[in-house]
């Protein structure tokens, strides 16, 4: 057991009893603070620095080649604790991306209800394709409930393109052209 040390309390001196030295000390402190620069962040003009691992609004991202990464596996929909995500799976348009069509799927609709979202980040954690990310957007507002549901277009617009280490589809194509599709 740790030993406790009993501190001796000295009786107050006469100067201390008048409180005047203490008051002067306090005045010095506040004057010192007054001369320092303020800590206020003047919000709409000045924005805080958002750290990289910040969990903001969930967004969908594309890979550097501009392809959709989400394959509508719906894992995020299932893991989402408040059931904010709703995915309607669909096919990839064969005209636009002939080599990917009928190989992978893509979401036809992808809605995240931001009134339900709790910013837990489980969708990002569970996504096998690294397609959904909670990025640095921290302030969102709207005038109606409908406005607060982010649809697919909005999600891609918010998400943009993130650097991708894997470039899965390029590797796959390279392997296929080398005659080793699987």
């Amino acid at each position: 057991m740790a030993k406790t040390k009993v501190l001796e309390r000295k009786p107050l001196t006469f100067a201390e009893k008048t409180f005047i030295p203490q008051i002067i000390g306090g005045l010095k402190t506040t004057f010192g603070t007054m001369l320092k620069k303020g800590v206020t962040l003047q919000y709409p003009e000045e924005r805080p620095v958002i750290p990289n691992n910040y969990r903001g609004v969930p967004t969908l991202v594309k890979d550097p080649n501009g392809r959709e990464k989400c394959v509508s596996c719906q894992l995020c929909e299932f893991v989402c604790p408040p059931k904010a995500i709703r995915i309607t799976p669909g096919e990839i348009d064969a005209e636009a991306e002939p080599d990917r069509a009928h190989v992978e799927k893509a979401p036809k609709e992808f809605d995240i209800n931001m009134l339900r979202c709790i910013y837990c980040g489980l969708c990002q954690e569970v996504c096998p394709e690294e397609a959904i990310f909670l990025q640095d957007i921290f302030s969102l507002s709207g005038y109606s409930r409908e406005e607060m549901v982010n649809n697919k277009a909005k999600l891609y617009e918010l998400g943009g393109t993130l650097p991708d280490k894997h470039l899965k589809w390029d590797k796959k194509k390279a392997a296929e052209s080398a005659g080793n599709a699987h």
Binding site: T30, F31, T33, G38, V39, T40
Partner: protein
């Protein structure tokens, strides 16, 4: 000539009132700015008036300092909806803010704020009414301000304002005594028998030409300062308001311009208290202790003396604000025990001590 003699005092009074009200609104701004600096914030820095606010560099500087803020504050109070709670006593409810403000504005009549040299070569004070009993007038009238608070508390007809008013009146009574007793030694020295000034504030200022009274009578100055803080209901003595335990104290039920009047009255009291302290203890418009009056005798010297007086007053206003954001509020019983058990005996002791010294001085110098 007759008409001029009648109109001039009115013109002077109107000028003084407008300057004084301007000072009040800018001390509100000073309060907001200084408090924000002390708390590491930036304070009001957005209000901008068209044209003046858009001069390239100056406009931004003025806006950043919040120079246009008082206009916005005042207009806000004017344009707010006039709400009268159902349970108040309407007549007295309206009367209270007026009674709170009027004494604070009345006291400035006898306040000398500068000096000029008349053609005969005699130094005269710049003052609306240089009456012989200036200090008595100020003490008497300024303590009437508490009636505004008491009336507000009573007419609001609810418990928090009532408690605030009761506390405020008790505090006023306790500190008035110490205040009066603290000033007595000052006047015993400055208006000795045979002196021509009597109890006028001008006389006190003139008597401090060689030595300021804060150096000569530090104990009186300290007691007076504490009592002024209490009389003006400023923190650490804002028993009347104490928003943490009494919601808003006496002005809980007040809104819009009536609250604005209370607000202005508080700052008017602060300015008057500062000016009074400067006159009594900080040498008024005398330059520095030892260097009495380096200003020349012409108009320029008069302006300089007024400016020097004003800068001292501004320092005291700043000191009031500075103390407010440094010290926490006293508990009510602490206020009472400080007033009755410490300040009052100290003031009496100080008075007796000074009396003895004066008696001894007279005794030994007479022979």
């Amino acid at each position: 000539m007759d008409i001029l003699a009648m109109l001039l005092p009115i013109a002077f009074s109107l000028t003084m009132i407008s300057v004084f009200m301007g000072l009040c609104s800018y001390s509100v701004l000073a309060e907001r700015k200084v408090s924000s600096w002390i708390q590491g914030r930036v304070g009001p820095n957005r209000t901008r008036i068209p044209l003046v606010g858009h001069i390239p560099i100056l406009g931004n500087l003025l806006t950043g300092l919040g120079i246009f803020q008082p206009a916005a504050d005042g207009l806000k109070f004017l344009f707010k909806e006039e709400i009268i709670p159902g349970h108040v006593k309407v007549g007295y409810y309206y009367l209270a803010p007026i009674i709170a403000l009027a004494p604070a504005l009345t006291t400035m009549v006898v306040l000398p704020f500068g000096r000029y040299v008349d053609p005969a070569g005699v130094v005269q004070p710049l003052v609306l009414a240089n009456i012989d009993v200036g200090i008595l007038f100020i003490l008497g009238v300024s303590s009437l301000g508490v009636y505004g608070i008491v009336l507000a508390g009573w007419s609001s007809n609810s418990k928090y304002p009532f408690l605030g008013a009761i506390r405020s009146s008790a505090q006023m009574i306790s500190y008035e005594l110490a205040m009066g007793l603290a000033i007595l030694p000052v006047f015993m020295w400055s208006s000795a028998p045979g002196s021509e000034y009597g109890l006028s504030l001008f006389g006190v200022v003139q008597s401090q030409q060689s030595l300021w009274l804060i150096i000569w009578q530090p104990l009186s100055a300290l007691i007076f300062l504490v009592a002024v803080f209490a009389e003006t209901n400023r923190l650490p003595f804002d028993m009347a308001e104490s928003e943490t335990d009494l919601v808003g104290g006496f002005h809980t039920e007040y809104g819009c311009f009536k609250f604005g009047l209370f607000f202005v009255a508080e700052y008017a009291h602060v300015i008057m208290g500062s000016a009074l302290f400067v006159c009594l203890f900080l040498g008024g418009w005398n330059f520095l202790p030892g260097i009495a009056d380096p200003w020349s005798d012409n108009v320029f010297g008069t302006v300089l003396s007024v400016l020097w007086f004003m800068s001292k007053v501004f320092f005291m206003i700043f000191f009031f604000i500075w103390v407010r954001w440094t010290l926490p509020r006293f508990r009510y019983d602490q206020v009472m025990s400080l007033g009755w058990k410490i300040l009052l005996p100290l003031a009496i002791g100080n008075l007796v001590f000074n009396t003895l010294i004066i008696a001894a001085y007279d005794h030994f110098t007479r022979n």
